[in-house]
Symmetry: C2
Subunit: 390 residues, 2 copies
Amino acid sequence: MNNLLKKETDTRLRKLQQTISDANADACIITSSVNQFWLCGYIFDGYMLLFPEGDPVLFVKRPAGITDERVIQIRKPEQIPDMLRDADLPLPKRVLIESDLLSYSSVMRLQAALEMPEVINVSGEIRRLRSVKSEYELNQIRESARIHTKVYELIPSLYRRGMTDLELQIEIEREMRLHGSVGIFRSFGENMDIFMGSMLAGDNAQAVSPFDYALGGAGTSPLLPLGANGTKMLPGMTLMVDMAGNYRPWMDDMSRTFAIGEAPDIALKTHQLSIDIVRAIEQSSRVGTPCANLYLMAEEMVKEKGMQRYFMGTRQQAKFIGHGVGLEINEPPVLTPRSREILESGMAIALEPKFVLPGIGPVGIENSYIVHENGLEKITLCEETLIVLS
Amino acid sequence: MNNLLKKETDTRLRKLQQTISDANADACIITSSVNQFWLCGYIFDGYMLLFPEGDPVLFVKRPAGITDERVIQIRKPEQIPDMLRDADLPLPKRVLIESDLLSYSSVMRLQAALEMPEVINVSGEIRRLRSVKSEYELNQIRESARIHTKVYELIPSLYRRGMTDLELQIEIEREMRLHGSVGIFRSFGENMDIFMGSMLAGDNAQAVSPFDYALGGAGTSPLLPLGANGTKMLPGMTLMVDMAGNYRPWMDDMSRTFAIGEAPDIALKTHQLSIDIVRAIEQSSRVGTPCANLYLMAEEMVKEKGMQRYFMGTRQQAKFIGHGVGLEINEPPVLTPRSREILESGMAIALEPKFVLPGIGPVGIENSYIVHENGLEKITLCEETLIVLS
């Protein structure tokens, strides 16, 4: 592990140790890949046990041979108590665990293996800790956004007349992979299946979906009803591209809208409304701004133009206009009318006030930002106007 | 819903109702996408409640507007008891739930919402029910295998000298998507991250991985240490392609090995040993065959040739040579030395006795089969010899 990475993970471990102390807990056990990576810099099949002080103990089932002196190789969690006794370490009685991520069966087994400690959910608190990024992490998001922009700039050259949304998506996916996208798109929650992002053309943007994304789409499989559905892109339609910005472990998020041929006037106007909302939020956001205010400001501007029926969907309307980004695409804070979160220095957020116009398609933009003391730093520096594909 | 699909889902619901009765439970609650799809033909954000008799009640949070008279729209699970009372249905006291799939937090909330019924894990039993497929399901697996073969046959034309494993993988991924792959590759378990499959060239096949797949690979991201790592494919190396067969909701599984230029003699011989093992298993498998016997037969043949050190990996060796396939890539049965499962009519299985040769790369094949009364039906009808890329 290089020195920078060690310094990063040490700082994160100290934050989590403070959480353990604040909760009057004896230890925290980390098993999810995303939090193992955040706290260790790599992932393994096993359990990270962290006490309020000192180094973590990494109980690793596989792989064998990790070069990290904190590792103790195990076959199963039932071995942990004996190994703790051998190392003169206490068996914790009150343990923070990732209850939102581990299955019920896994928790039951782990709890029995550890001789039935009390378990307390730490998932949300770790997400809160992760929502404030270090400069190292922010640089990864900036870098991801830079590559994301490069890929989006290729879209007009990938388009051919008569293509379906899915055919264009496949060419974009290929460019994403050639530019270093790891493919897998990490999200939080049990209702967030997706494959590399979303492309919505024409009225498919009105199709409702079971998933918790800003917009829906019918998809092509009954097991993944989301996004592109094979719509042939015809003049007069719009196409929204919201493909993953997963070029680094820390991700950005960005959407851009394209017009197939000339865009109808209402599409141009409503797209501009999205840009205007983004500009207004940019100008009134800084450390301390309540996230709910940003939603309400957007809603107010939408009402002024009488566009509520088309805001964030039609048949199903999302009640948020933005969210944090990081190791997962949906991190805190979330920009909803009832959010109690406030913007903090070092947060990375995406703003996505979008509209769906029946008979035309989706319009609007999504940008990613870093929150600073005096305002937002836009990091998705990519043309924002409605770009014509022809 | 068409008649065939209704007949299919009705049959599956009856099987699960038998499970509820056998467990002396009052009901079963299904929340996972894969099991909702299996039992309803579509997915939603919500809860399917099934009693030992009658139709299920589908408590749906989203999407709105599903045209299915069994649906009751809800906002949150806490509304379920009142809605059951309104419908003159009993509140269950003993409930089967998917404990291996739901998070601990979700189970805690659901249990509290339902006024604290006893909960019993049904995940494994549903996987067992799903492992015996209907003719409709088997035809989907056959169809997936047919398309899988078409894509693999394109590989020599996608290869260019000097390519990396990842560059070739990206071109294969594109063809997969153009041939209808839904992208997402469904697996069971908390330790099974993967993106569209695995490509292993040369010594990268020796790299250990935290995941529970047959072979490892270093990957390109610390958050996804698996598969292709950017190895430049050079003469004398072998390349194993184990990309997803997810062209239908029900999947097949297939691996093929390629030689970059002329293959070393030991690669040809060991590849043939894999084919010989597959042939031997094909000939001795039928309904009633113990799965452990198939593993032991393979192990015996490997020992006869003195190739144990290279079987199913080198630094880390997988202790299985096959597994069921279906809606998830790793369904029962599993072909391990200690398996107590036996082959049943209508099971779909993949056989993958593979070897890793230091300094050369992985060799061997993987085929998918359907289990019949008198033997196996091979469905991955694709050239099995070591194919030369040049």
